[in-house]
Structures are given as structure tokens and as C-alpha cells.
């Protein structure tokens, strides 16, 4: 086991990693920017080293300063957390060349799975279903019709050189396909100077289902179930749960096996997550892989009774996957709500500032992963997530009731938070039924905006 680990991150994940280090008897070294002097991760680590000014690119993203800190503190390993440098293959390489163990997969794995095209190709070669599409640009009407027949309607015609929603047309049948094909080409020509288009299957009301995998250096790879992350707004996750209300035991087995196969095909080591898009009929398609620990990892930990962060450190130290990872079964239901310092009813405007009063929820079945405290000032330089509330129960209903209770009793005064939105989501009938997709949050907010034109629900 390592003697000393440096945490190249901040906020709640830095705290999480420091806690895992303490439980493993590993000396923790925190790095921090000048804006994070009063941060909890700095207070709780065994050692803390200031590495720069507030902006991330002058501190948490500065590889040279982090490596220097690692050297003067004489650490054995670095845990990159999530975000920042966690998926920068170059950083993993620098660690390696400095003989510091990077707690995560190899630089090569990060590079391969970080490139969407290579990742898709790897998935295809491993026999994992990917979003069906044309094999490159579609040149003629006839080819378009052929491709549509092959991948099945509805389809999306997309400009090859495209972006910003331009040069895109959905099509639900041959007639709209031909119309859309020509319209998309014309728009693409005007907007990008290139009329080339390709086609992809359009998944209506997709669900975002991701699978957690863990792999040790001895070649053992397991999946630790799924997380349903469809509750999103503008592609930002707000709430995650496991098990997914959508998955049958059979689907879980199939998708889990696909996830393991993909990880095996790249000799993956340590923690990783495979993201899938799923339609209402249960068809799933590989989207991308995240080669790091994720924000929503507590959901998996609570459902399966494992400690993913400790295991990451153990695997990096050369230990085989622990006994906790034999014979994995979902033991209970867990829901996580991300608390952001944002005003959800004012376009999610960030709300940095001082927390005057902080009372975290507690009691049976509630876990709180947060780095804030009463009197703490949230710096404006970083992302707005100030904590995660996880509700655990023997079944989904119990977890839902607990989350409702927890959100109602939480007090965070002095800043705006997304808790009122969480309360709205938890009250929603369709959500409680487990019927939701990635369009859910936007629909909820649109409905509310229509019903409450003058009022300000705070």
C-alpha cells in the first residue's frame, strides 16, 4: 500500500479521496489554489501545498506545479479525482515518467477511450452495439433511403462539417427523408461550405444508462451495475439512481457483459464507466466511456455495498480486486441529488458567496458528500456543485420518501441552491412512477414556467 498519496483535485471529491486515504492508513497531501485556503479538503489532509492563484489554469490544471508538489512531499501516487486532469493522458504519462503512480487506467486507455471515434470503433470491434449510422457520408437520395432502411426510422441527417444544430434534419419516413436530405445539404453548404451529410439513428426520449466497471492488474474485470442518469438539464446530470427503473435483470446481464467485454478489449485497469443510450423498447447503444471515478459513484457504493475510491487506491497499489467485488448483487435502492449553488428558477445563474447557515440532512438512510460548512465562502472560480445528498432504501419508494424528507430538512442559507428543483422532481408523479427520460427536466421546467408566469417559487 502507498505511504503517501497526493490528491490533484478540490471540493467534495478531494474530501472523498482523503477520507479513503485515512481509512487505508495512507498519508494524504492536498494541493490548493489561493481561493481554496479555507477549503475543507485543505483542513483535513495531513499536508497541504498551495500551487497557484485561483483560476484553474493557474493551479489545478498546472501539471508542473502539481508534480513539483508531489516531489517535495515525496508522494507515491496521485489520485486525479474527476474533471481537471483526470482524463488527460499526458498527465498520466508525466506521472509515470516521474515514477509516481497515477491512480487510474493507463495513459493509453485514457487516450483511446477519450477519442469518440476510436471508442466507437473499439466498441464495434468488441461486438458492443453502437448508435447505428451510415459508414461515412451519404451521397445520394437512394443511398439515404438504403441506409434508413438498414438502421430503421427515425433517423437524423447531420452535416459532416456541422455544429450548432445546423445542417440537421430528422426524418420519420422515406418522404421526409428525401426532403430532409436535400434541405440538410443546402443548409450545410450555406453554413459550412460543405454539403456532405451522414446519418444516425434518432433515439426518441433516450435514457442515459451507465455501467460501472472495476478492473485490477491481474486481469479481473467486473461490472458493478448501472446508474440511471436521465434526469439532466442541458446535458448536465442533476439526479442519478440505481437500479434503473427501466432495466430488467436480463438487460442488466446483457449490458453488463457488453461493458466488461469492451473494458477487456482495451486491457482496462481501475475504475471506469460505460455510458449507453437506451430507447423505450430496451435497445441500447454504446455512447462513450469515462476513464475515471464519477461524481455519482456513491449511488453504486450504497446499492452494492462497496467502496469504489478505496478500491481504486488498492488496485493502483497492485492489490487484486477485493472480496467485496465477488458475487455482486444490488442490495438496495439509492438516489443521489446534486446540490449546486445555482438559482434553478433564474436560468441556473451561479450563486457563489458565503453560506451563513448550513444544516445537512441526516438520519437513517441518508449520506451527504459535501465540502461546505457554515461560514464557508463558495469561490466563483470553479463548478457550482457544493455537495451530493444520497438517499438509500430497501426499495425505490423508501429511497424516494427519504430523499424527499432529506431535501425538506436541509438548510443552506446565504446562497441559492437547486434544492427547490429537487423537491419539484421528487414530487412529480411520472418521476415517482419511474417514467422519465432525458427530456424530463426541461419539460418540468417548461410546465412550471407556463403555470407560474408571475410567481417566484423559492
Amino acid at each position: 500500500m502507498f505511504e503517501k498519496v497526493l490528491i490533484a483535485n478540490r471540493g467534495e471529491i478531494a474530501l472523498r479521496i482523503i477520507r479513503a486515504c485515512k481509512e487505508l492508513g495512507v498519508h494524504s497531501v492536498a494541493v490548493y489554489s489561493e481561493a481554496d485556503q479555507d477549503s475543507l479538503h485543505v483542513q483535513l489532509a495531513d499536508e497541504a501545498i498551495c500551487i497557484g492563484k485561483a483560476p484553474s489554469n493557474e493551479s489545478y490544471l498546472k501539471i508542473d506545479r502539481i508534480i513539483s508538489a508531489a516531489e517535495i512531499a515525496d508522494v507515491d501516487a496521485i489520485h486525479p479525482g474527476y474533471g481537471f486532469l483526470s482524463e488527460k493522458a499526458h498527465f498520466a504519462e508525466v506521472c509515470e515518467s516521474c515514477h509516481i503512480k497515477f491512480i487510474g487506467p493507463s495513459a493509453d486507455s485514457i487516450r483511446r477511450m477519450g477519442d469518440k471515434a476510436i471508442a466507437r470503433d473499439t466498441a464495434r470491434k468488441a461486438g458492443v452495439p453502437i448508435t447505428p449510422g451510415s459508414d461515412g457520408p451519404v451521397e445520394t437520395e437512394q443511398e439515404a433511403i438504403r441506409v434508413a432502411k438498414k438502421i430503421g426510422y427515425p433517423v437524423m441527417i447531420k452535416a459532416v462539417a456541422g455544429g450548432g444544430g445546423k445542417g440537421m434534419r430528422p426524418a420519420h419516413n422515406d418522404v421526409s427523408l428525401v426532403q430532409g436530405f436535400h434541405a440538410a445539404r443546402m443548409e450545410a453548404e450555406k453554413a459550412f461550405g460543405n454539403p456532405s451529410v451522414y446519418m444516425e439513428k434518432l433515439i426518441i426520449n433516450p435514457h442515459h444508462i451507465e455501467f460501472q466497471i472495476m478492473a485490477d492488474t491481474k486481469g479481473k474485470i467486473v461490472h458493478v451495475g448501472e446508474r440511471d442518469c436521465s434526469i439532466q438539464r442541458r446535458n448536465q446530470k442533476l439526479l442519478e439512481e440505481s437500479p434503473s427503473p427501466l432495466l430488467t435483470a436480463d438487460l442488466r446481464k446483457k449490458m453488463g457483459r457488453a461493458a466488461i467485454k469492451l473494458a477487456e478489449s482495451v486491457n482496462y485497469v481501475n475504475a471506469g464507466t460505460l455510458e449507453f443510450l437506451m430507447d423505450d423498447a430496451g435497445n441500447y447503444y454504446f455512447m462513450e466511456m469515462n476513464t475515471r471515478i464519477q461524481v455519482e459513484h456513491p449511488v453504486t457504493e450504497e446499492v452494492y455495498g462497496v467502496d469504489l475510491v478505496k478500491e481504486q487506491i488498492r488496485i493502483a497499489a497492485g492489490e487484486p480486486l477485493g472480496k467485496d467485488f465477488d458475487d455482486l448483487k444490488p442490495l438496495r435502492h439509492a438516489i443521489e441529488f446534486r446540490v449546486n449553488a445555482e438559482d434553478p428558477f433564474n436560468n441556473f445563474q451561479p450563486s457563489p458567496g458565503k453560506i451563513d447557515l448550513y444544516y445537512a440532512p441526516g438520519g437513517h438512510g441518508i449520506r451527504v458528500d459535501s465540502h461546505v460548512y457554515g461560514g464557508y465562502s463558495i469561490p466563483p472560480y470553479y463548478d457550482s456543485m457544493i455537495g451530493k445528498i444520497i438517499a438509500i432504501g430497501r426499495d425505490r419508494k423508501t429511497a424516494l420518501d427519504r430523499m424527499t424528507r432529506a431535501l425538506d430538512e436541509t438548510i443552506i442559507r446565504g446562497i441559492r441552491t437547486t434544492i427547490p428543483l429537487g423537491q419539484l422532481i421528487l414530487k412529480d408523479v411520472e418521476f415517482r412512477r419511474g417514467k422519465y427520460s432525458t427530456s424530463f427536466v426541461q419539460n418540468l421546467m417548461d410546465q412550471r414556467a407556463q403555470l407560474m408566469p408571475q410567481y417566484d417559487l423559492k
Binding site: I51, I72, S377
Partner: protein, 153 residues
């Protein structure tokens, strides 16, 4: 902040048409507001020993950590621009770059900070006379750590 710095802020506010200025650094806080007539009024909060709602175990951690808790109206310091190991002289046998009383200008090399096996020559970047040597040869320094105290010329 000393009076000279406060006056600089007020001048800048006037020049740029600003009516409110607030600065919080550690436990020091100052707020300057200009009323309708353009007359600045300011309130200055003296440092308080603990944060009101924070649990009692929250103390700055002891090792390798610079906590600036009270406003110092003292000489400026030259702070470390990087993380690494401080060396006061070019080699173990040579004399130090700067001692108390050494006069320096912007280009004067005052120490070396070694980072990732690279010896970086650190320049004073200001003119003055060294009044205190805070860095210790062979000891690690973090970003922003004061290395020397200097009397500006």
C-alpha cells in the same frame, strides 16, 4: 490594507466611476461606498478570532501551509512563483545570492527554486533592500510562500 492602499482604491473608484468596493481577505474585510455626493465612506472590520458557525475543529493544518490571518502593515515580501525546493546560493559552497542588506533591482537573481530537476533562477522583479531572508536552503516552498522581505526603493 494601509492608508496609502485605501487611498489608491478610492482614486481608482473615482477615476472609473465606481460606487462600491468590497474586499475580503482571510479575516480582514473592508467596504468602501460612495454616496450621492461622491464622498467615500468606509467601514473596516477588524479581524475576529474564529468564524461564527464553523465547528471548533476547523483549524488551519500545521504542516507546509501558509495561513495569513491578520492584516500586516509591514514591508512587502517577495513570494514564490512556483512549487519546489528553495536554494539561497548557486551551489552549496558559494555565497548566497541575497542576504540582509543586499540591494537588488528587477533583474537581480535572488534565489533558485528547483522544480522537477530544473533549477529556476528567481528574479527580485522589484528594486529594494533585502531586510529578511525567509526561505531556507533545501526546504520545500509552495506557491505564494514569502521568500524574502524587502524595503522598496
Amino acid at each position: 490594507m494601509d492608508l496609502k492602499e485605501i487611498k489608491t482604491v478610492i482614486d481608482l473608484m473615482t477615476k472609473n466611476g465606481l460606487t462600491e468596493f468590497e474586499l475580503e481577505k482571510g479575516q480582514f474585510k473592508i467596504r468602501i461606498c460612495k454616496d450621492g455626493q461622491g464622498t467615500p465612506q468606509y467601514t473596516m472590520q477588524a479581524p475576529v478570532p474564529t468564524i461564527a458557525h464553523a465547528p471548533t475543529y476547523l483549524q488551519p493544518s500545521p504542516a507546509a501551509h501558509v495561513a495569513d490571518s491578520a492584516p500586516k502593515i509591514s514591508l512587502p515580501s517577495i513570494n514564490s512563483p512556483m512549487v519546489g525546493t528553495f536554494y539561497g546560493s548557486p551551489s552549496p559552497d558559494s555565497s548566497p545570492y541575497a542576504v540582509v542588506g543586499t540591494q537588488v533591482n528587477e533583474e537581480s537573481v535572488i534565489c533558485i527554486i528547483e522544480a522537477m530537476k530544473v533549477m529556476n533562477e528567481i528574479k527580485a522583479e522589484m528594486s529594494g533592500i533585502i531586510t529578511e531572508v525567509l526561505g531556507e536552503s533545501g526546504k520545500p516552498v509552495e506557491f505564494g510562500q514569502p521568500l524574502f522581505r524587502i524595503k522598496p526603493l
